[in-house]
Amino acid sequence: MATRIGVDVGGTFTDLVWYDEATGSVVVSKEPTSPAAPEVGVLAAIDAAIPPAGLAAARYFLHGTTVGLNALLQRTGAVVGLLATDGFRDVLEVRRGDRDDPYDLFWSPPPPLVPRALRLPVRERMLADGAIWIPIVGSDVEDAARRFTEEGVNAVAIAFLHAYANPAHELEAERILRAGGFTGAISLSHRVSGEYREYERTTTTVVDAFVRRRMGPYLERLASTLATRGFLGDPLITRSGGGSMTFAQAAARPFETVLSGPVAGADATAAIARALGLEMAIGADVGGTSFDTCVIVDGEVPVLYQGSVVGLPIQTPWVDVRSIGAGGGSIAFVDGGGLLRVGPRSAGAIPGPACYGKGGSEPTVTDAAVALGMLPPVAIAGGVTLDLERARAALAPLAAPLGLDGADAVARGVLRIAAASMAGAIRGITIEQGLDPRGAALVAFGGAGPLFATLLADELDVTRIVVPPHAGNFSAWGLLGADLRQATSRTRIVRLDEAGVATVGALASELHRELDGRATATFSARRREVHADLRYLGQEHTLTVPVPNDDGVVSVTAAALHALFEECYERTFAIRIDEAVEVVTVRAVVVEPLPTRAAQAPASPVPVAGGASRSVTAWSFTEGRELAFAAVERASIAVGMTLAGPAIIAELTTTTYLDAGYRATCDPSGSLLIERVGS
């Protein structure tokens, strides 16, 4: 039972990694994603890699999915009705009054998830301290229930003001709805989030109600199919805030999965950073349409507490991965003012880059790489053969308006601009935390990550790069280490003094009791964490600081916690301020670790003897001219071997472009460690 399966459903491909603890063997597969019924692609990936006996023997099935996200993107969820505090039925529509594009006179927000006719007021009112100002008028709920029935509502969100401070009215409204016979799903704001800010909490509650109708049935179908095929282990799914949860927990709290798409990549980056002892690692995941980056310090996945998706704020922990629209499929064009631009529009899987020969005619990043010889014109995954002539033909028309000399010059520009915008995203995420990217190691993965590795290193002055084995499926590998994790939080604003720390302690215990109620008891070992959002008195924005504790029992003085906050503040903003500190929100986390994997990275493919070296002509960015690059099979680089650039290293899931001036060494974990020569 010591095997586990990771399946990551992406926008274009469904990636699988099957890992056997006993033998250390790793099998991967990559199948097209089937958006209408994602489980079809999942099963295809399983069929391609795992024999029935293997499935039956697997201990864990770890799953990353975008089903919840797609429900939001396509607006195909439940018909949700919202009960709101009288006077606040328009919280979803008023939002915060701001515009996504401040330069657009015509800008309109997307229509709210719940139309106004289904947002009904209930007379009731709590205050910020939890006191009841206006008792709930039950008949308002009964009237609303009748209206919901007439309108075909099949899920209800209840979001009353200050419910985080006192949930009594939300609970009473739920009771009245049930007593009246409502059988659909009900989401209560205080269960979804214990934090203040009504627009953000209400939106999150509505998202929960909205995606539940898609998520629950999907997970049921998948679980039962897996069971039918003989799988006896635990099916787990990744959370937006890192780690995993059981399918049952995900069905109960589906909003916790909507930001989980890029989490597995961050988990994988953190795992390899720990394995290689990297103090600071930058994940650089280049896929077909997007570039996802994260910063891992001391092997910890960074978690923030309010994300957003398709313009909607989600008040839940999420792993701080930033995405920009720059990937292999990003389209290059000349803008109205005569500059070359790349993305964010993407050719996607269909029609795909011009060089795929599937009908795409606009030039993409992949076409540029093919034109420059960085991607050899050979067959790749999915039965596509890269066509050099089509790539050149797509790029050539951009040369004249830019005043550049031919398709290759355009191609070089496309890659430099794409790399610069990726580097910009990396700079943003590091510098705003007071970190200097030059001290980090770059972990390059995803289908096109290893193609950009040395370009990014040049752009950022980074000297160390890690290309993990099976880099194209590295996110799925990250899934295999997703410990079970649950988190909750509560806003309570108190001064950070001894009484304040006592409040933090009491709240932490209460929150941990709540988590125990959600626990699965699948695993024996658990680790408890307590965090507090702190700020200087008068500020609004907070920093989240880990609170020293003994199995969830807070064990710190006010002075010590104050000092921890100041340290964290100074590291982030390079300034200390002589001002009192206050607590805004207390957070509790419980982690039930999966058994440790023996391997810290997936084993490399078995070396093939006598990988005869060919050479190809490709553009060298460090030298600024065409050079002969050694064309090398990834499998032919054995542990301990060193390969000097220029070289192009090919494998099934990705291609590594090793520019002149770099050398790669295969370390015992199977990763390629790339360094700048002479540094």
């Binding site: 006077g87 606040f88 328009d90 008023v94 939002r95 657009d104 006719a117 203040y196 550049l404 430099r416």
Partner: protein, 577 residues
């Protein structure tokens, strides 16, 4: 009284030569890098600021300039400020003795209204950026300080600039990286909320330093020569973008009409015209016929008049891109010193921004005459600002808070106007959540809801305004600074006007009559104050509105059935639906 001749200000320096040889790839890389650098300044400031007016209202601008004080990049924040920053940088540097008097690590404090364009509360910090002992540019932030020692924390009735706050006429707050404590203490001593101001000063310093570091990195990476030629090409690129918009407008002189409810001291309305002249791809915005400078604080100093024009142009013609110096080369602004849009010392100018906003609306109206569909109908037309303060009963501590409020947006050729967005002049600004507001201030927000029937009718109707009800739990003072309470938001192409803005105070004996401007109004415990923000004007003949859309509006309660029947009788005729 002296009458001055009009002055012409060219909004952007330089001009396309066609000789710039920077390669388009490196240029795009530099352009992205500069926009990201400005964004880092903004993030650093927002995350460390102490006042909601900065971290929520975003009442600041953060920008990077080159050594010639041309705009390299600015972070999306308060549009009204964005166009004034070049004036701030120039005036600050001149005040301390010019570039020769600058050292690496200096930060200048400057808030003279006729130089910043704003009231004294808006204080600019300007930091020269040195690379290899040469100035390569400036990082600048102008941010609203919560209180700077004017006669009231917020005023609609000042009669000269000395009532409006402490003046810092271009003085070094930091010399070679070291804070000048004497000056810092004077600044703090002149505020009713010294803690918040001290915190925001620190935050602004963090912000300008972040910008300086980012600009230094870009210049070092590319070398000063390549950097300069890329920047020249970036400006040419911006200029081409804007000129292509104006080239498409028919040549001619178009007049937009604006009006202020009052000057804050006298009760008379203050009408004005703005003429927009399009000549090929060049546009001239002429305020020379504006009324004389006013006794009350609605005077708009020349930098803010230029800014209102720059912002209006960037939004109309910028193709959604972040503006740079080149955007403004096609624009000239004509003002006459001694008038509403070019007041002279010591004219009061606390409400400068309100005149600036109405100037923007007048420019849009003028453009609507030039090209059908180029602009939406009028929005609620104001930021609807309320500023509150008081002493907490339990502790005696002074609290203060202020916010703009969303208004309905005008209908337009492509669709209905959006409901409840902050005026375009403060487009990125956010209102605080009621839960945050109630945790912070001694009040209960009883209602914050879209106002039924507040929109203008049309083929595409306007967006709805808001009704907001504050119930005070302790005594507080209020300054209400509302425009367009007398002057309903206009419709376009046959669309109708919408509800105007207004405030009502209810002391428990029923609502008083609506008003717009008031300074230091006592709102006692248990009283309620109701703010009604304007809707957006309609676009096109209401008789052409889609029948199903009318019924959907009634179903959703955006319109009462009575109002719908009155505005759209065609939707209720037999067989109409």
């Amino acid at each position: 009284m002296i009458t001055y001749e009009p002055v012409v200000f060219r909004c952007g320096q330089g001009g396309a030569t066609g000789l710039v040889d920077a390669d388009p790839v490196t240029t795009e890389i530099v352009r992205q890098g500069l926009n990201a650098a400005a964004d880092q300044m903004k993030r650093a400031l927002v995350r460390t600021a102490f006042s909601p007016v900065i971290y929520e209202v975003l009442d600041f601008a953060a920008a990077l300039y080159d050594a010639d004080v041309c705009l390299l990049a600015q972070a999306p924040s308060l549009p009204t400020f964005m166009g004034t920053m070049s004036f701030c940088v120039r005036a600050a540097v001149d005040a301390v003795g010019g570039t020769a008097a600058l050292d690496d690590g200096d930060i200048i404090l400057y808030n003279v209204p006729y130089g910043t364009g704003s009231h004294p509360q808006d204080v600019a910090m300007v930091m020269p950026v040195f690379v290899d002992r040469e100035i390569v540019g400036y990082a600048a932030i102008k941010a609203h300080w919560l209180d700077i020692g004017g006669k009231d924390p917020y005023s609609t009735d000042t009669v000269d600039v000395f009532q409006e706050g402490t003046i810092f006429p271009g003085v070094k707050l930091y010399r070679r990286g070291e804070r000048v404590d004497d000056l810092f203490r004077i600044a703090i001593a002149n505020s009713r909320v010294p803690g918040a101001v001290a915190g925001d000063i620190s935050a602004t310093v963090v912000g300008v330093r972040a910008g300086a570091a980012a600009l230094t990195r870009i210049v070092r990476r590319h070398g000063i020569g390549e950097f300069r030629s890329c920047v020249a090409r970036i400006y040419d690129h911006g200029e081409a973008t804007v000129r292509s918009f104006f080239a498409a407008l028919p040549d001619g002189r178009y007049v937009g009409h604006g009006e202020m409810d009052s000057n804050g001291v006298d009760d008379d309305r203050v009408p004005f015209d703005v003429a927009v002249t399009v000549d090929g791809s060049t546009v001239r915005i002429d305020y020379a016929d504006a009324p004389a400078q006013q006794r009350g604080p609605i005077n708009c100093p020349q930098p803010s008049t230029v800014s209102a024009s720059r912002v209006a142009i960037a939004m109309l013609a910028g193709g959604g891109e972040a503006p740079n110096e080149g955007f403004f080369r096609a624009v000239e602004v004509v003002t006459r010193p001694g008038t509403l849009f070019h007041p002279l010392h010591p004219a009061p100018c606390f409400l400068y921004g309100w005149a600036g906003d109405q100037a923007m609306e007048a420019i849009y109206q003028a453009v609507s005459h030039a090209m059908i569909g180029a602009v939406p109908a009028c929005s609620g037309g104001d930021i609807c600002a309320l500023v509150w303060w008081g002493e907490r009963e339990a502790t005696g501590e002074v609290w203060t808070d202020g916010s703009p409020h969303p208004v309905g947006q005008g209908g337009h050729a492509r669709g209905d106007g959006a409901s409840a967005l902050i005026h375009i002049s403060e487009a990125s600004t956010r209102i605080a959540p009621a839960e945050v507001w109630e945790a912070r201030n001694p009040w209960i927000i009883e209602r914050l809801e879209l106002a039924q029937d507040s929109c203008g009718a049309g083929r595409h109707r306007g967006g709805l305004g808001l009704d907001v009800v504050f119930r005070l739990r302790e005594d507080a003072w209020l300054t209400s600074a509302l425009e367009r309470t007398r002057n309903a938001p206009w419709g376009l192409e046959g669309g109708l006007a919408a509800r105007p803005n207004g405030v009502e105070l209810d002391l428990g004996d029923g609502p008083g009559s609506p008003f717009g401007k008031a300074t230091r109004l006592l709102v006692p415990r248990n009283a309620t104050l109701t703010l009604r923000t304007g809707g957006g004007g309609g676009y096109g003949d209401p008789a052409q509105r889609n029948v199903a859309a009318v019924h959907a509006d009634v179903r959703n309660g955006y319109l009462s059935e009575a109002a719908a029947r009155a505005s759209y009788p065609h939707a209720f005729r037999d067989g109409a639906s």
